[in-house]
Each structure stands twice: as structure tokens, then as C-alpha cells.
Symmetry: C2
Subunit: 496 residues, 2 copies
């Protein structure tokens, strides 16, 4: 037991370092002066190295082994923590230090090349970098090891236990279902023009309304805050310090509102761990897919529901008087408008997953070696046409739009769609228990729903693998059908 305590203390202290790195990062995005960037980058690298050294030390290996050999004396929570520490350490030592450094340098150069390639829409400026990144990612997969597909080793970093064999049929089913609903969705929601709500929404008024909604979701502003960045994100800087960011468009209140709903969904997960587990894996997010399920659930299942706008219409009009000319039904229709488009981050809820499935398919081909890098634009454009029915005008609006590949993040994209699938499945399970109370404010807060998420998702931290968590929370393995059903129902429910 003494070894367990030492291990816990060691990781608890390593957490101080990780959170300091997260603060350096948050500050980088929010308030860092321009010329401070190079020093900050070196500083982050140094602190990351310290944290890595602490994770990979022999002392940690010995302590973990000793706890494992004594596991019968441990309770379930302690055993789960040890499993998580084992996983983290093993993954960390599998990559040789030289390889990690080479990978990081390649990413840094890759990111710069990608930025320029995207700006000028010249894929060839990025091609040789992408080749190296693919090659290094295959090597990474070899270091990690895998049973069936090298892509599995890469996905496992973001979604433990997730494999190509599990995902491919589910994604295929989802694709069929979306494609079959797409024409109906377009026809129904295009009754209103795309710029219907375009008006003037002063930033501070938007912020006021967003804060009201986040508070009602249960986001604790004594343990968190909202700042402004170019790309919204959520980061936890401590057990009671969760930072959200958003961005504002003067003419379109929905940009900041739905990014706050999304990021506050992430934030509620971080604020929802059990305080007594602070500093251990029991108070850490289990995967990106589960994390994304929380953000998507609040952003879409709650925030774009007709119930949301009947609930919030009055307060929204008070904060944002430019909304008054529109009915709650019109607003609901506008924020659910379906329209195939080129850019993933601007996609509607129905077509969003098609963007992900396209990337998922191409990534697998790249990693298995079946798609030469030089053919990426051609294959991207052909498949895009097939799925979306529109012609990609240039690579900036095609295969160059996302930053992920330039950062070597193969295997990350599928977690976005996993987030949608999980959120639909969790939402359906919550609805079974809560009925209409799922959209109900109780003392001004979405207490019934939040309580359900707290006890079925948040409080478990990394106790189970994501697949187990979903099974225990919903009574079923992951299914594509929930998300398809949800999309169908939502499209049927809205109307002006």
C-alpha cells in the first residue's frame, strides 16, 4: 500500500506540471504578447520533457510493478488507477526519445509548410512533408504495436480500445443513413434563407446571453471562466479551474452561442469528476470520443432542439433585441439548416460526419500504404463529389483545410464522429429515464440531465474503456442507429 501511495503522490505532482503546461498553452492562445511566442514554445517543450521524464522513470516502473503484483490488496478504484498508469507509462516508453524529437521537428516544419500551402492552395508545397509524416506515423504504429491494422495503434492514443474492425461497419452504416436523409433535410430546412438571422449582435450582449445559458447548463463560474480566442477550446487547469474559450461574429450570434454550448459541454465533464479522485486517472477524461460526446450533446441534442428555443426565446430577445423579428421556430430552423459545404468546421449537423468519414477512409489508406500522398487531392475531390454532390473548387477548400495531418495527428478525426454517435446513444438512454425532463430547467438549471450525465459518464473518469462506459451507461454496445434516428427525429420536429 505504501507503494500505491507513493505512486499516487508522484502522479499527483506530475499533474501540477501538466496543468502548468496547460496554463502556458491557454495563455499562449489568449493573452501572450506576439514576441513572447518563441520563448513560450521552448518553455513548453522543456516542461513537457520534465513531465515525460517523471512518467518514464525507472522508479515509476518499479512502483507500478510492485502494485500490480499486490493487486489483490487493492480496491477497484486503485486497480483502475494502476491500469491507467501502466497504460500511460507503457505508451510513453515505447517511443524512443530520438524518434519523438524527430517527429516533433517534422511536425513543426510540416505545420509551417501546411500553413503556406493552405494559404496559396498549393498541395505540392505540403506533399513531401505529408509523406514524411505518414511514414513516421506508420513507424509510430509499429513502435506501439497492433494486432490487425497499423491505424488501430494510432487511434488507440485518442480512443483506447477502438479499432478499424469495430469502426468501419458502424461508419459505413452511418454514411448510408446520412446519405438517405440528406435530400429530405436539405429540402425541409432550406425553406428559410441561409442568412435569415444575419443582423447586429453586440459582443457584450452575446457574452451575457452565453453566460446565462452556460450557467443554466451547470457550468460553475467559480471553477471556470470564458475567454476569447480564434479557435474555441476547453482546457482544465486544475480540479476547480476549467477554462472555456469562444469566438464572436458580430453578425451571427450563433457562432459564439453554439461554441459556448459545445465547450461548456466539455467543461461540465471536467467539472464533473469526483473531488476525492483529483490528481488520479479516476478524475481524467477517458477518451476524446467521450469528451466530444459531452460537447455535442449540449451543443446539438440540447442546444438546437425546438425545446431549447421555446425555453430561451424570451431571455435571448432581452439580451439580443435583434432576434425579436424572428419566431422561436424560425430560429430553430435556422440553427438546424442543412446544406452540403466544403469546410468541416462550418458544416451542419447532418453533413458533418460525412466530412469525418471521408478523412477516416483516406487516413486508413495513407497509413496502410494504399494511397500515395501525391494522389490525395485527386481521391479527396472524387470522393467528396460522390458523398456531397458538389465539386471541390481548390485544395484550400479540400484536403488542405484541416491542421491535423500537419501535426501528425492521424487517428484523431474519427473521435469527432464517435462523439456524435456516443452523444446520440447517451441522449437516447437519458431520454428513456428522464422523458421530457431532459429539456427541463429545475431551479434555473438543467439539473435532471446534468445529474444523469454526472452519474453515468463524468464520475467514472478512466475507470472503464470508452466502449465499456457506453455499454454500462446505455445498456448496448456502440450503434450507428441512434445518431441516424436522432437526426431523423430532429428534422421531423422542426418547422415554421
Amino acid at each position: 500500500m505504501d507503494d500505491y501511495r507513493q505512486l499516487k503522490k508522484h502522479f499527483h505532482e506530475t499533474g501540477y506540471l501538466h496543468r502548468a503546461i496547460s496554463l502556458l498553452d491557454w495563455d499562449h492562445e489568449t493573452y501572450l504578447p506576439a514576441k513572447g511566442v518563441p520563448f513560450r514554445a521552448d518553455q513548453q517543450a522543456f516542461l513537457s520533457r520534465l513531465a515525460h521524464e517523471r512518467l518514464t522513470s525507472n522508479r515509476v516502473a518499479d512502483l507500478i510493478a510492485s502494485c500490480e503484483s499486490n493487486s489483490t490488496a487493492m480496491n477497484a478504484t486503485q486497480q483502475a488507477n494502476i491500469r491507467a498508469w501502466r497504460r500511460d507509462r507503457d505508451r510513453a516508453v515505447k517511443l524512443p526519445t530520438d524518434f519523438v524529437e524527430h517527429f516533433e521537428k517534422t511536425c513543426a516544419l510540416g505545420k509551417a509548410a501546411w500553413t503556406e500551402a493552405r494559404r496559396t492552395s498549393q498541395f505540392e508545397l505540403f506533399a513531401s512533408h505529408l509523406e514524411q509524416l505518414v511514414e513516421l506515423s506508420r513507424k509510430k504504429a509499429d513502435y506501439y504495436g497492433y494486432k490487425e491494422h497499423p491505424y488501430d495503434a494510432l487511434m488507440d492514443e485518442y480512443e483506447p480500445g477502438c479499432t478499424n474492425r469495430i469502426l468501419t461497419p458502424i461508419f459505413e452504416q452511418l454514411k448510408q443513413s446520412i446519405v438517405s436523409w440528406l435530400p429530405y433535410g436539405i429540402e425541409k430546412t432550406n425553406q428559410i434563407p441561409s442568412n435569415l438571422l444575419e443582423s447586429n449582435y453586440p459582443i457584450q450582449d452575446q457574452a451575457k446571453f452565453n453566460t446565462m445559458v452556460a450557467r443554466a447548463m451547470g457550468f460553475d463560474f467559480q471553477s471556470g471562466r470564458i475567454d476569447t480566442t480564434t479557435h474555441p477550446f476547453c482546457t482544465d487547469l486544475g480540479p476547480h479551474d476549467v477554462r472555456l474559450t469562444t469566438r464572436y461574429e458580430l453578425k451571427d450570434f450563433a457562432v459564439s452561442l453554439y461554441s459556448v454550448l459545445h465547450e461548456a459541454g466539455h467543461g461540465l465533464y471536467e467539472q464533473g469528476f469526483c473531488p476525492e479522485h483529483a490528481g488520479t486517472p479516476m478524475a481524467e477524461a477517458v477518451s476524446l470520443g467521450i469528451h466530444e460526446s459531452q460537447s455535442r450533446l449540449w451543443e446539438n441534442k440540447v442546444g438546437r432542439a425546438p425545446e431549447f428555443w421555446s425555453e430561451w426565446y424570451g431571455k435571448a430577445c432581452q439580451c439580443l433585441p435583434s432576434l425579436k423579428p424572428f419566431s422561436p421556430e424560425e430560429i430553430t430552423m435556422a440553427v438546424n439548416r442543412v446544406s452540403p459545404s466544403f469546410i468541416r468546421v462550418e458544416a451542419d449537423e447532418v453533413t458533418y460526419d460525412l466530412h469525418i468519414i471521408l478523412r477516416f477512409e483516406l487516413e486508413k489508406l495513407l497509413i496502410s500504404g494504399d494511397l500515395p500522398v501525391k494522389d490525395v487531392p485527386k481521391v479527396w475531390n472524387a470522393r467528396f463529389k460522390e458523398m456531397f454532390g458538389i465539386e471541390v473548387p481548390d485544395d484550400t477548400h479540400g484536403c488542405l483545410q484541416d491542421i491535423h495531418w500537419s501535426m501528425g495527428g492521424f487517428g484523431y478525426f474519427p473521435t469527432y464522429t464517435l462523439g456524435n454517435l456516443h452523444s446520440a446513444q447517451l441522449y437516447a438512454a437519458a431520454e428513456k429515464t428522464l422523458g421530457h425532463r431532459i429539456h427541463l430547467l429545475q431551479d434555473g438549471c438543467y439539473t435532471p440531465l446534468l445529474d444523469w450525465l454526472r452519474s453515468n459518464v463524468h464520475q467514472h473518469g478512466r475507470r472503464h474503456e470508452p466502449a465499456t462506459l457506453i455499454r454500462e451507461a446505455t445498456g448496448q454496445d456502440i450503434q450507428a442507429s441512434f445518431h441516424g434516428e436522432y437526426l431523423k427525429k430532429r428534422l421531423e420536429a422542426i418547422g415554421v
Copy 2:
């Protein structure tokens, strides 16, 4: 030479940690959510321990010793760096770890007790804590070692080389000079009422004007920024990342303006080190007194001069239309108004040093054991009456007003007055060279003055002890007369 390079790298990397701690601190004061405080405190303590371990390691001792034994091969800059590293390490190892921990805990309890004591004006709530803090500070002085007075060992932490023997006659002379000028200052400046400028100055308008002035001083907003805190401060988070903070009073623009001038003075020092020395003592402030000389010089010698208000009057009125009813002469008079008062941080420039001298005298008596803690309020009140001519109403307005003792910061106060003395002496030397150009804007900036400070103060970092720096910059040892002369001239120059 290889040892020197290793040492430099080691301290350069330790700097990453120190700057991370400074960011944790800055964030604590600016944006940290309320419930995040306890975690942050533990996190700061942990990172401080890491930094301390890096400073006190045997490897560092060996490398320093090796460099010292090979000092003839080093250039002057390298030798100065080694001297500084030696000083820092020796001081750090002189205090046993147990003692440091005990000291910190006593401070934490002391600070809590002081907060309550000040709130309720009950000295007895703080007395036993203060006794322990005095006792521990005497012990600290013993650990550090000293030749003549234990207080010297404590002051040396903030102002290397400064002693009671040097300071006492200078402070005595200053006191005489202030006391003799005080009645004239009061009589002259009290021609206008204390609330003359009281009006409505919207925060964003104040911020706009302050930024304009800070920019003209030469503060680089690409390498720094200004935020809002309860107590203004300046911190450097990297070679190109200097953060100032200020606070705003809606009715009194001068509060934020002069705190920005003050903190930007500190900030210019931090931004003024040679980039090639980044990460070494050559790019660190030499002492608190020299740091304060820079803030005081800009705040008072520049910012309260009649020349300042003839220069800035037009722009100030544009930003802050409520200033229009007043002439530049009236504004100058108002911001130089002399009036004995109880609270140090609200004191005018003439009486400010009397506050410091009172604390300096009492601190020495406490540390030498000649003043029992229980007698502090009595002695404070009696001396205050003698120096200021007014009766202290309660301990909140007397010996309980400052936080420093509750943090065990004995020896800190004198650096405030050293800042005034140094700033007056530097200002006189700069004036000798620059004449009226000292207040001159060149291409919108105080370039002549800033250039003089850059080459005579900033760029030297910790090359010399503060006393040597002053001697080289001004041609003379520290003198009380410059500050006295400056106050006299200033009072004579203003008038409506």
C-alpha cells in the same frame, strides 16, 4: 568552457520553471477562478520546490566551483554570471529545508491572522504570529550570516550589499530634509482642494490614455500587455513578455494613470536587458531598489512634472473630456498635492519616504530585539505623531496596514526609499547630459531619456552590485541630497 556552457544551459532551463511560476502567479492575480486558488497554491509550491532543487543540486555546485577555478579563461560577462550564480546558490543552501518549510507555514498562518487583525483593527490577533516571524527572521539572518547587524543579512536579499551602516545616515538626512520642506509643500499645494479633479472617467477612456502614455515611454506592447488587478504589479514572463497590471477608479483617473507609469517603468527595465544575455543574470534586475528607481523615475520625475502635463494635456482631454475644465497647471498641482496621511500606498511623494523610514527604524529594533512585539502599536503611533503631526486613529491605519511583515518580508521596505533616492540621483545625472531633452518626445517617444536609462542602467543587468551601478551611472555614491533637491525644485516649479 564546457562547464560554463553546461551551467548556462542549466540556469537557462531553470528560468523556464521560474517563468512558469510567474505565470501561475500572474494568472492567480488576474484570471484564476475563485475555487481554483487552493490547487494553484500547491502547484506553485511544487514548482518552486523543483526550481529550488535545480539551484541547490551538487552538480551545480561542482560546475560553479570548476568555473571559478578557471576564471582567468572567462570574459567579464561570464565572470559576472558566475558571481551571480554563486551568490544565488550560496544563499539558497544556507537555509535548511526544514527551516524554509517552517518559515513558509508560519507566513501562511501569519498572513491569515494579519488579514483578520487588519479587518478588525485588533493587533493582538496578529501579535503572536509577528513574534514568531520576527524570531524566525532573526534565525534566518543567522543562517545567512552578517558582519554588523542581523538586519543587514535580511536587506541583502532584496538589495545586495546594502547595510544598516550605509543606510542609517542617508535616511536620517533625508528625513531632516523632508521634515524641513513639508510645511512649505503643504502650504503651496493645498491652494487647491483635494478632490479638485474628481469626476467621471470611463474605464475604457482611462485605458486608452494610459496605453498612449506607456507606448510613448517606449513600452513595447508586442512584448507585453496591461491587465487589471486589485494591486498593480509588473512581472516578466519571458524575455519578450512583460506583464503590467493596474487598477481603475471611475472618479479618479490618476490612480490608473500613475500606476501604469509606475509599472511601465518597471516594465521598461525588464524589456531593456540585452537580448543576447537572455536567461543569464546579465538579463536580470540587480535589486529591488534599482527596479523601484525605474518605476519612480517615470511615475514621479517624468509623470508629475509640469512638462508632462504641458505635453499631454491635449491628448488627455481628448481621451478624458472631464479633464477639460482644468488647466495643465491645476492638474500638475493636483497630482503633486502634499498632505500627511495614514496609509503609505496613498501617500504623496513628499511624505512617502517618512512612511518608509518609520518602518525601517521599527524593523531594525524588532530584529535587534530592542522592541518587543507587544509595544509595536504604541511606538508606531508615537513616532508617527512625531513625524507626521497627526494622531493614528487605529492600528488598521497604523502598524497593521502593510502585508510585508505577515509574509516575513523584513528588509524589504527600505528598497522603496532606495528607489526614490536612486531615481532622483539617476534623474539628475540624466538631466546633466540631456538637459530639457529629458522631457522631450522624439518621434512620439521619450527616446532620449529611455536611451540614457538603457545604456546606464538596464543593459547592465546584474553585472555590478547596485551601489556600483549607481556610482558608474551618476559619478557619485548614493546621496540623500538629490531627492531632497528634486522635491524642493518640483514644489517650486508648480503653481496655478
